[in-house]
């Protein structure tokens, strides 16, 4: 088993081959996005303090409008760096969800389904992982960076869930040998383990025990793999590293860019903390600054590497925030008309799609439901949004629920 084989094999132990619709995918002309970087802002980004400023002035609270590098696009002053990159971004200002609480909203955004107590649905990344993984892939195709919901495979086998990277600067947890254990000692330990396991296998061996033996060799290959350096930021070209600042989110974006360069299909990056029910103008700017810096560095990074044409970068959140600032100087949840972003992979960059009513109360024109949003991402990767899979009890579910792809968002 060579290193290109192991992730695949390990994941596959005891399971049937994944549903590969790569053929079907290539027939769809749209397969322009080879990879997706999915930035999820959990807590609920305030659209009126970021990218939807074309509303009545009182709605903007303390946000000030600034011009961007693109005619016709203005943004909040909390995003000065991204203002200089708006030519690369498509702003979706009339996003809509049917969920107004965090767990349910997050679940809906990431899976396209309302949470139910009888089944868990796979996240979009798991659908991508299951649909596009081939034997040639040397790295897992679904990686989740940062804390927060880590990328569940729902009713799919666990092998399709995200490989979690809690801290981007530390890479995969426990992927390095304890430094106090020398290479020879480690080898000796593995030999002892082999002899114990083969003895056990003789008498009690079954599929499950073999599956553990396989996963050990998979994990070892991973530890020794040339590809593991994809997770090591200090191996990155200093000219790329210096594009980013030192915040965790920026480091996560750097890692995401690095993984995409290695061919990873779906990288989720979590940036939480957006739930500002009070003191939004005291507490939000530092978080806005993280997003502003990290995302603009990432766009530069991908552009410099020539990856932006084949990488779809999206920024989403579970819902937006209310047009009025509450007595506590915060904003409460608002599912009807919020903002998401897209960049790369041929998206109509430098444009705004959709609008809310001027009072900011509802999504008005160019409404994109969160299920449509997910359908569009899948479609752009060449996966049919109506792709159907059965849960363990035989209930059929589709990738994007009833969502429909929106080709008009692309050139």
């Amino acid at each position: 088993m060579d290193r290109r084989d192991f992730i695949y094999r390990v994941g596959m132990t005891g399971a049937s081959l994944p549903f590969l619709n790569a053929t079907a995918a290539s027939e769809q002309a749209a397969a322009q996005a080879k990879s997706v970087i999915y930035i999820f802002l959990s807590g609920g980004l305030s659209q009126y303090d970021s990218f939807n400023v074309e509303v009545d002035n009182p709605v903007l609270g303390k946000s000030k409008i600034i011009n961007s590098n693109t005619d016709g696009i203005r943004v909040s002053h909390y995003y000065p760096k991204l203002a200089q990159q708006m030519d690369k971004l498509l702003v979706l200002n009339a996003m809509k969800t049917n969920q107004g609480a965090h767990p349910a909203g997050t679940y809906k955004m990431l899976t396209s389904y309302n949470p139910r107590a009888t089944v868990t649905h796979p996240e979009l990344g798991a659908w991508v992982n299951k649909s596009l993984t081939t034997q040639q892939d040397s790295l897992p195709n679904f990686v989740s960076i940062g804390s927060g919901r880590s990328g569940t495979a729902g009713f799919f086998p666990g092998q399709w869930s995200a490989l979690p990277v809690k801290n981007p600067s530390q890479g995969i947890d426990f992927a390095k040998r304890d430094p106090s254990i020398g290479g020879d000692t480690f080898k000796k330990r593995l030999n002892i383990l082999d002899s114990l396991n083969s003895d056990f296998q003789g008498k009690y061996g079954a599929r499950d025990t073999q599956s553990y033996i396989d996963t050990y060799s998979g994990a070892l290959k991973f530890m020794n793999s040339a590809d593991i350096d994809a997770f090591e930021l200090n191996r990155e070209d200093p000219n790329i590293v210096k594009l980013y600042n030192k915040s965790d989110f920026s480091r996560s974006c750097l890692l995401a860019g690095r993984l995409v360069e290695r061919g990873v299909r779906f990288v989720k990056v979590n940036l939480g903390g957006w739930d500002y029910h009070d003191d939004i103008y005291g507490r939000m700017p530092s978080n806005a600054n993280k997003l502003d810096s990290g995302l603009s560095s990432l766009l530069t990074h991908l552009t410099q590497k020539g990856l932006l044409d084949s990488t779809l970068v999206v920024v989403s959140t579970e819902f937006g925030r209310k047009p009025e600032v509450n007595p506590n100087v915060g904003r409460d949840h608002h599912p009807d008309g919020f903002t998401c972003l897209m960049a790369g992979a041929g998206v109509k960059a430098g444009q705004i799609y959709g609008s809310t009513s001027k009072d900011g109360v509802y999504a008005d024109e160019g409404i994109v439901d969160v299920t449509d949003f997910n359908a569009t991402i899948a479609w752009r990767m060449g996966i049919d949004p109506g792709l159907e899979e059965n849960s363990a009890s035989g209930r059929p579910f589709t990738l994007a629920n009833r969502g429909e792809a929106r080709p008009e968002l692309f050139i």
């Binding site: 390095k176 396991n197 079954a206 035989g394």
Partner: protein, 625 residues
């Protein structure tokens, strides 16, 4: 060691009859009055073995060899209390010369704190106690209710009845069964889950359409749902209380100080959050009903899925209700308790069958009847006579799960060599345990057996308070004005929950260092147990959602993340051993609960730390055999 209790079959029958003819609102106490069974565990074990032996004979298979004391000791610790024995516990058992030492150990473990820890994990998974949830769906009290039920060995049918029939205040200590309803807001999902939990059947398809390959129709589903109609979680005070007590200050605070208003709202919720509704017996078909046998919004009266319909006394006729607004579901008539009776009755064939199927699976590693959550009414498993025998033992034991487990543990079938399930013959005919991976919590708790000689020391022996139950308790005597004071001059919005949690912890007294807690002690207040999650613990969103499959992060942790600090039991034992063979024997006994084999002695030349690493990483450690 026998469970010397008195059995009265007559009482049982009478009870069932009463439960089925009356719509009992006080069903719990009626059930409790059943006298405890007088049964002889070793006789029950023998009955199991006779049924198994007959099948072996019929199939021309030999009995599996019996296991030695080492294997037995490890197995019974794992299955009864959810961890490997410590080296001291193993030594003591081996040294015990009494002929009935196995039965004695079984009895001892079933009555130990370790049992309470292990079986809490089991029931909490089945009943889906969420460790982390929305604030007001906080699971602390639910979790405590299950722990208390395990500690007091509450009969399982009673436990199930109390869950299905739960109502009243969410945070009232002792009323945590309400958590079963509070944990999920959608009543139809909840019903499908109740059926899967207690009857082992999967009817969720029928929630939205006729079941594709079974008989259940959407109407069947709605007729069952009619029993529980209008059952709901309400977190705010009832309208009259609100108007009389709270409304005035709520308005004043809202206009004056947002934080104070929030504290006012949240603290009042803790006092008043409750499960309301005891079932109207009526349900309406959904607005998109698509079949010819009914109309959208048509009123359905209650009916059970199978068996006799319990009596329900309606106050309004179906015709009358049909003529009313489609939002009307009729007055409450206690229909839910009738369903609880039907569902958890010894006369409900699915209830007992699902229960023994689950318990057998937990102990033997295989399905006795069929899929844990996907049984059919006809299904009796690969060995129907055994299924029947175990059903009858469960009934005779009056759902005393300890007694049932004791019968299983004392059987020759349980104490025979584990089989690795492969495709090679002979076929497995449910004659004993199969080789399977330890559940996540058992694996993690087994690390504790290497750390300390007393791994169960900090398992709770009594109710533990959390911020919610503590505040509820305090709020008993709080007037509306007290709530205002608490909101205005109390700990404040940022702090009030933390303060209540701290006070609750104080009230609980010493709980010991977290490093020495068993997984069952962790929970919302102490964060989720990341290592158990890594090992495949269920997140309890769904029934039977734990996994035993490997993944790369888990193995990386086992290889590179496990540490054995010097002050742990295993290291102390190692340093006490003077010779190399002694050290090696110590390691084998502590980790694999057995002596090293002759063929393994070539490994003795290695360093103890290397052997320690290899043994903990070995399949023999993580699998039960």
């Amino acid at each position: 060691m026998n469970f010397n209790k008195k059995l009265s079959i007559l009482t049982l029958i009478l009870l069932a009859a009463v439960a089925f003819t009356l719509s009992l609102s006080a069903g719990e106490s009626e059930r409790q009055s059943a006298q405890a069974p007088e049964v002889n565990v070793s006789e029950l074990a023998l009955e199991i073995d006779q049924v198994v032996a007959a099948e072996l004979k019929l199939k021309g298979q030999a009995q599996r060899p019996q296991i030695d004391d080492f294997t037995f000791c490890r197995r019974i610790y794992l299955d009864a209390i959810g961890r490997i024995p410590t080296i001291g516990e193993l030594d003591r058992f081996i040294a015990d010369a009494r002929s009935d030492k196995r039965a004695r150990l079984i009895d001892k473990l079933l009555h130990s704190k370790g049992y309470n820890s292990h079986w809490y994990n089991y029931w909490a998974d089945l009943l889906r106690v969420k460790d982390i949830g929305d604030k007001l769906h906080h699971s602390g009290n639910y979790s405590e209710w299950i722990k208390e039920s395990v500690r007091s060995n509450k009969p399982y049918d009673q436990m199930a009845y109390e869950l299905v029939n739960a109502s009243g205040d969410l945070y009232k200590p002792g009323n945590g069964a309400t958590g079963f309803y509070a944990r999920e807001p959608m009543p139809l999902d909840h019903l499908a889950n109740s059926v899967k939990t207690f009857l082992g059947m999967s009817i969720e398809c029928a929630q939205c359409h006729n079941h594709p390959y079974e008989d259940w129709t959407q109407q069947d589903f709605y007729q069952l749902a009619a029993f529980t109609s209008k059952t709901h979680l309400r977190v705010e005070p009832l309208r009259e209380e609100e108007a009389k007590l709270y409304a005035k200050h709520r308005a004043i605070l809202k206009n004056r100080d947002f934080d104070e208003w929030i504290v006012y709202r949240e603290s009042i919720r803790v006092k008043h959050a409750a499960i309301y509704g005891n079932g109207t017996g009526y349900m309406r078909l959904p607005h998109d009903y698509q079949y010819k046998d009914g109309e959208p919004h048509q009123v359905m009266d209650a009916n059970v899925l199978f068996g006799d319909m319990p009596e329900v006394s309606y106050k309004v006729s179906k015709e009358k209700l049909q003529s009313m607004s489609k939002k009307q579901f009729g007055p409450e008539i206690g229909a839910r308790s009738a369903m609880a009776d039907w569902m958890t009755s010894p006369d409900n064939p699915m209830f007992t069958k699902a229960t023994v199927n689950r318990l057998w699976h937990s102990i033997m590693g295989s399905e006795l009847v069929g899929q844990l959550g996907g049984l059919t009414q006809e299904e009796m498993g690969a060995h129907p006579a055994l299924t029947e025998k175990l059903i009858s033992i469960m009934q005779v034991s009056q759902y005393d799960t300890k007694l049932f487990l004791s019968a299983l543990f004392n059987s020759r079938a349980y104490q025979s060599q584990a089989l690795a399930l492969t495709t090679t013959p002979p076929p497995y005919i449910l004659d004993g345990p199969i080789v399977r991976r330890l559940p996540a919590e058992v694996l993690v708790d087994s690390f504790l057996s290497l750390k300390t000689p007393t791994p169960d020391k900090y398992v709770a022996t009594k109710f533990r308070w959390d911020g919610f139950t503590h505040f509820y308790d305090k709020s008993k005597d709080m007037t509306a004005k007290d709530f205002v004071d608490y909101s205005v001059s109390g700990p404040g919005r940022q702090e009030f929950q933390n303060r209540e949690e701290r006070e609750a912890m104080k009230r609980n007294g010493q709980m010991g260092p977290k490093a020495l807690w068993r997984v069952s002690t962790f929970g919302r207040n102490y964060k989720n147990h990341w290592l158990a999650m890594l090992m495949g613990k269920s997140n309890r969103e769904l029934i039977d959602d734990a996994t035993l499959e490997p993944n790369i992060p888990q193995i990386l942790f086992m290889m590179n993340g496990l540490e054995a600090p010097e002050d742990t039991l295993i290291k102390r034992k190692l340093s006490q051993a003077t010779t190399k063979p002694e050290k090696m024997t110590t390691l084998w006994k502590a980790i694999l609960s057995r002596m090293p084999k002759e063929s393994e002695k070539v490994l003795f030349e290695n360093e103890p730390d290397d052997i320690l690493w290899a043994l903990i990483n070995s399949n023999e450690f993580r699998f039960s055999k």
